[in-house]
C-alpha cells in the first residue's frame, strides 16, 4: 500500500508538470485558436537561463529564477510580435501550426548555439533529502512543482475570472470579431496570451529542471507530453488541461511501476489515440456547435502561382540535364549530400500531395520512413532477402499502417488529424528504440548491404546517385500527372471545402485515404533508400525531428508546387555540408526559415522564383 501511495505521489508530481505545460497550451489555444508547439521550448529556455544566471552570473536561486522567467517572457513577446501575432491575421490554422513547429525548432537551435548539446543537471531547490511524512517519502522538488502549479492555476483563474484583462482575454476566445467591435485590442490580447504562456512555460521549466535531465531538445519532449495532456483533457478548457495533465502523470507512473518504463511512452500515446478517436475534443469539452453548411472563411487558402506550361517543360529539361551532369562536376561530399537531397525529395513529393494539395498536415512522415527503412534493412540483413523485395515489403507495411491510421483518424478534422500523425510518429520512434532485437535499439542497425537489383549492386555513390535520380524523375512525372488531373483537383477541392466537394460527388474519404497511402508509400521508399545509402539506420535518422524537418523543407520550398520541396531539401541538406563549421546553426536556421517563410513567403522559394521571373505578373493573395 505504501508503495502504491508512493507511486501516486510520483504521478501527481509528474502530472503537475504536464498540467503546467497543458495550461500554457490551453491559454494560447483559447485566445488564438492555435496549438503552440513551441510551448515546451519555453521550459528549456527558462530552465537553462536560470542555470546560467545562477552559475555564471552568481545570482541567488530565487533572483535567477525570476530573471529567467522575465527573459523568456521577453523572448516570447518578441517572437509573438514578429511572427506569431502577424501570422494569426494572415495564415490558415494549419499553417500557424507549422509556424509554431518552426518556432520550436528555432528555440531549440538557439539553445543549441548558446548551451551546446550536453545535458545539464540542476540541484533541487531545497536539498536532495526527501521529506518523511507518515512513513512516506516526499521529494522536496515534487512539493515545489506541485506548489508552483497550484499557485499558477489559482493566479490564472483569478486573473481570467476577476480582472478586466481576463475579461478581454475571454472575449477574444469567445468571439474575436465581436471583441474587436467592442473595442478590445485583439492583437494585443493575442500577444499578451502568447507572452503569458511563455512566462508559465519558463516557470514550469525552472521548477521542473531539477527533476529531469535537461538538454537542447528536451523542449520537444515537454511539448509533446504537454500536448498529449491537453488533448486528453480537452484543449479548450482549463480544468480539462489540468485533469489531463494529472491523468497522464498518474498513468505514466503506474505504467512504469507495474509494466515497464519502455511502455509508459507507448501507453501515453495509445491513451492519446484512443481519446482522439473516441472523443476528439477531449474528456472535458468546451466547444461551440458550428453550422456545417456554412464555411468558416476567416482565412482563405492562397492561390499558388505556377510556371507557364512551356517554361515548366524547359525548366524540367534543364533540371534533368543538370542532374545528369552533377556527379561529374561535384566532389564526394557534395555528391553524398545530393543523394540525400533526392532521397528526401521522394518523401517530400508524397508529403506535398498530402499537405500542399490535400491540406492534411502530417507531422509523422518519418514514421513511414522508419517502417520502410527498418523493414527493408532487417529483411536484407537478417534474412538475406533481395533488397528490392525488402523495399516492397516495407512499402506494403507502410500502406497497411497508413490505411489503419487513416481509418482511425478520418473522423478527426484539421489539427486533430495533424496531432494524431504526430502521435503515430512518436509511437514509431518508441518502437524503433524499444524493439532492439530487430532495430538495434538506440544505437542503430549496422551492416546493411548495398542496394542491388538482380545481382547488380549499387555499390558506388555514382551508381546510387543515378538510381535515385531515375526514381525521382519517374515518381515526379507520375505524381505530376495525377496532380494535374482529376485526383489533384479533387484533393484541392476537399482541402478547402469537403462539403461542397462531396455535394459534387467527390469521394472525400477515398481521396484522403489515397493521398495518405501514396504519401506513406513514397516516405517508405525514401526510408529504405536512406538505409541502403548509409548502410546504417538509427532512430534519430528517421524520428520525429526528421518529420519536422520534412515539414520545414516543404514549407520553405513551396507547398502545392511538387518541385518546390526539392529546393527546400537542397537548402537544408547541401548548405550544412558546404559550410561544415556552421552546422551547429542548422537547427536555428531551419526553424527561422520555417517560421519566417510561413509568414513572409507563404509560397516558399518556388513562389519567389516564379514571381521574380520576367513577364510574370505578381501573384495576388486569394
Amino acid at each position: 500500500m505504501t508503495q502504491f501511495i508512493q507511486i501516486i505521489i510520483g504521478g501527481i508530481q509528474q502530472g503537475s508538470i504536464y498540467a503546467l505545460l497543458a495550461l500554457g497550451f490551453s491559454l494560447v489555444y483559447r485566445v488564438t485558436g492555435v496549438i503552440n508547439l513551441a510551448q515546451g521550448a519555453f521550459c528549456t529556455l527558462g530552465a537553462l537561463t536560470a542555470y546560467s544566471l545562477e552559475t555564471s552570473v552568481g545570482l541567488p536561486p530565487l533572483l535567477a529564477a525570476l530573471g529567467a522567467i522575465l527573459a523568456t517572457t521577453a523572448l516570447a513577446a518578441v517572437a509573438g510580435r514578429a511572427l506569431f501575432v502577424p501570422g494569426l491575421a494572415r495564415l490558415t490554422n494549419s499553417n500557424m501550426l507549422m509556424m509554431t513547429a518552426g518556432l520550436l525548432t528555432l528555440f531549440e537551435g538557439l539553445v543549441l548555439v548558446i548551451w551546446g548539446s550536453q545535458p545539464y543537471a540542476m540541484p533541487p531547490f531545497s536539498g536532495e533529502k526527501p521529506w518523511r511524512v507518515a512513513g512516506l517519502l516526499l521529494p522536496t522538488q515534487g512539493v515545489w512543482v506541485f506548489g508552483v502549479t497550484l499557485a499558477i492555476i489559482v493566479a490564472l483563474g483569478w486573473m481570467l475570472a476577476r480582472t478586466r484583462l481576463g475579461q478581454s482575454l475571454r472575449a477574444c476566445s469567445e468571439n474575436p470579431t465581436a471583441a474587436r467591435l467592442m473595442g478590445v485590442d485583439v492583437p494585443r490580447m493575442q500577444l499578451f496570451a502568447f507572452a503569458l504562456a511563455g512566462a508559465i512555460g519558463a516557470a514550469a521549466g525552472v521548477v521542473v529542471a531539477p527533476a529531469i535531465a535537461l538538454q537542447f531538445d528536451t523542449g520537444r519532449l515537454l511539448t509533446i507530453s504537454g500536448f498529449i495532456a491537453v488533448a486528453i483533457g480537452g484543449i479548450a478548457s482549463f480544468p480539462g488541461a489540468i485533469a489531463g495533465g494529472l491523468l497522464l502523470g498518474l498513468v505514466g507512473q503506474l505504467a512504469t511501476a507495474y509494466v515497464s518504463s519502455l511502455f509508459s511512452n507507448a501507453l501515453a500515446l495509445g491513451l492519446l489515440l484512443i481519446v482522439l478517436v473516441w472523443r476528439p475534443s477531449g474528456l472535458i469539452r468546451a466547444k461551440l456547435a458550428r453550422r456545417s453548411d456554412v464555411r468558416d472563411e476567416a482565412r482563405v487558402w492562397m492561390h499558388v502561382s505556377r510556371l507557364p506550361s512551356a517554361m515548366a517543360w524547359r525548366g524540367g529539361g534543364l533540371l534533368i540535364c543538370l542532374g545528369l551532369a552533377a556527379p561529374f562536376l561535384l566532389g564526394q561530399a557534395l555528391l553524398g549530400a545530393l543523394i540525400i537531397t533526392l532521397i528526401l525529395f521522394i518523401a517530400l513529393i508524397g508529403q506535398d500531395v498530402l499537405m500542399g494539395y490535400g491540406g492534411q498536415i502530417s507531422l509523422g512522415q518519418a514514421g513511414f520512413m522508419a517502417i520502410g527503412g527498418y523493414t527493408a534493412a532487417y529483411l536484407a540483413t537478417e534474412h538475406a532477402w533481395a533488397p528490392i523485395a525488402g523495399v516492397v515489403a516495407g512499402m506494403g507495411l507502410s500502406v497497411a499502417c497508413a490505411i489503419v491510421l487513416a481509418a482511425v483518424t478520418l473522423r478527426l478534422r484539421g489539427l486533430y488529424m495533424a496531432l494524431a500523425t504526430l502521435a503515430f510518429g512518436l509511437l514509431i520512434d518508441s518502437c524503433a528504440i524499444g524493439f532492439d532485437d530487430i532495430t538495434g535499439g538506440p544505437s542503430g542497425m549496422v551492416g546493411i548491404p548495398d542496394f542491388s537489383v538482380a545481382g547488380f549492386a549499387f555499390a558506388t555513390p555514382m551508381r546510387m546517385y543515378f538510381l535515385v535520380l531515375a526514381l525521382v524523375v519517374l515518381i515526379f512525372v507520375a505524381v505530376a500527372g495525377a496532380m494535374r488531373s482529376g485526383f489533384g483537383r479533387a484533393l484541392q477541392a476537399i482541402r478547402t471545402d469537403p462539403l461542397a466537394a462531396a455535394a459534387l460527388g467527390v469521394n472525400v474519404v477515398g481521396c484522403k485515404m489515397a493521398a495518405f497511402a501514396l504519401s506513406a508509400t513514397l516516405a517508405s521508399l525514401a526510408g529504405s533508400l536512406y538505409a541502403f545509402q548509409f548502410h546504417f539506420l538509427s532512430p534519430d535518422m528517421v524520428g520525429t525531428p526528421r518529420s519536422l524537418e520534412l515539414v520545414s523543407m516543404l514549407v520553405i520550398g513551396g507547398e502545392g508546387t511538387l518541385i518546390g520541396p526539392l529546393l527546400g531539401a537542397a537548402v537544408l541538406t547541401i548548405l550544412p555540408t558546404v559550410f561544415q563549421p556552421l552546422a551547429i546553426y542548422k537547427t536555428l536556421a531551419s526553424g527561422a526559415l520555417l517560421a519566417g517563410c510561413s509568414l513572409y513567403l507563404p509560397q516558399g522559394m518556388f513562389g519567389l522564383i516564379v514571381r521574380l521571373l520576367p513577364g510574370q505578373k505578381r501573384p495576388i493573395a486569394a
Binding site: A478, G481, Q492, A500, L504
Partner: protein, 254 residues
Amino acid sequence: MSTLEVVGLRKSFGGLLATADVSFSVAAHSLTALIGPNGAGKTTLFNLITNLFAADAGTVTFDGVALGGLSSSAIAKLGVIRTFQTARVFPGMTVLENVLAGRHRLLPHGLAAQLTWMPYARRAERALAQRALALLDLVGLADQADSPATQLPMGAQKLLEVIRALMAQPRLLLLDEPAAGLNDTETAELSALLRAIQACGVTIVVVEHNMSLVMGIADQIVVLEAGRMIATGTPAAIQCNPRVIEAYLGAEAA
C-alpha cells in the same frame, strides 16, 4: 410523373420548428421555385433534401430512391447536384479548375491511369477542358478561365458555381439563391441559362428571392413561411393567392 417526392418533412432545431410537415412533388423536366420570407426554412429544406441534416420525420425520394441516410457523395452520384447560398467556389483553384472539379464523379480515368499518363486519360482531360471552356463561354467567363476563382466578383462566382454543378451532369439541380448578388444583366443571363438547362432535360429546384426571375421561369412555385408550406401552384395562381400576399405584405394589405 414526378421525379422528386418530398413527404411530410419535419425538422426542428431545439425549440425552433424549421420545417413543419412539408410535402410537395416536382415533375420531371420542370422548374420549381421555393420562395418565402427570410427564415422561412428554404435552405433548411435543401439541406434536408440532400441529407446534410437528418430529418426528424418524413421522406425524400428521387426517382423512387430514398435519399434519407445516403451520404452527400452518394446523393450526387444519383445525379442530385446542389449549389450553396453563399458561393462556394474552391479557393486556391482557377476558374477552369473549379469547373473541372465538378466533373469528378464522371471521370473515366482512375488514379492509376493518371499516374501513368495513359493516353486515354490525357485525351479525356483535354476533352473535359474543352467542354468546361464552352460552358464558361456561355456565361461570359471563358476569358477568366485561368484567374483564381476567388478573385471573381460575387455574381460571377455564383454563375461559376452553377456552371460547376452543370459539369456534374445533374438530373436534378438544386440551386440556392443563384441570383443573389447578380445585377440585372446577369440575372437575365441566368434566367436564359436556367431555361436552357431545363430544355436539356434537367429538373431544377431553385430557392430565390428575385420575384421577377421566379415568376418568369418557374413552372411551379412552393411558398414557405416559418417552416410551413402555405401555398403551391403556378406563378399566376400564386400571385393572387391571399395567404401569400399576407405573408409577404402583412395582413392589412390582403
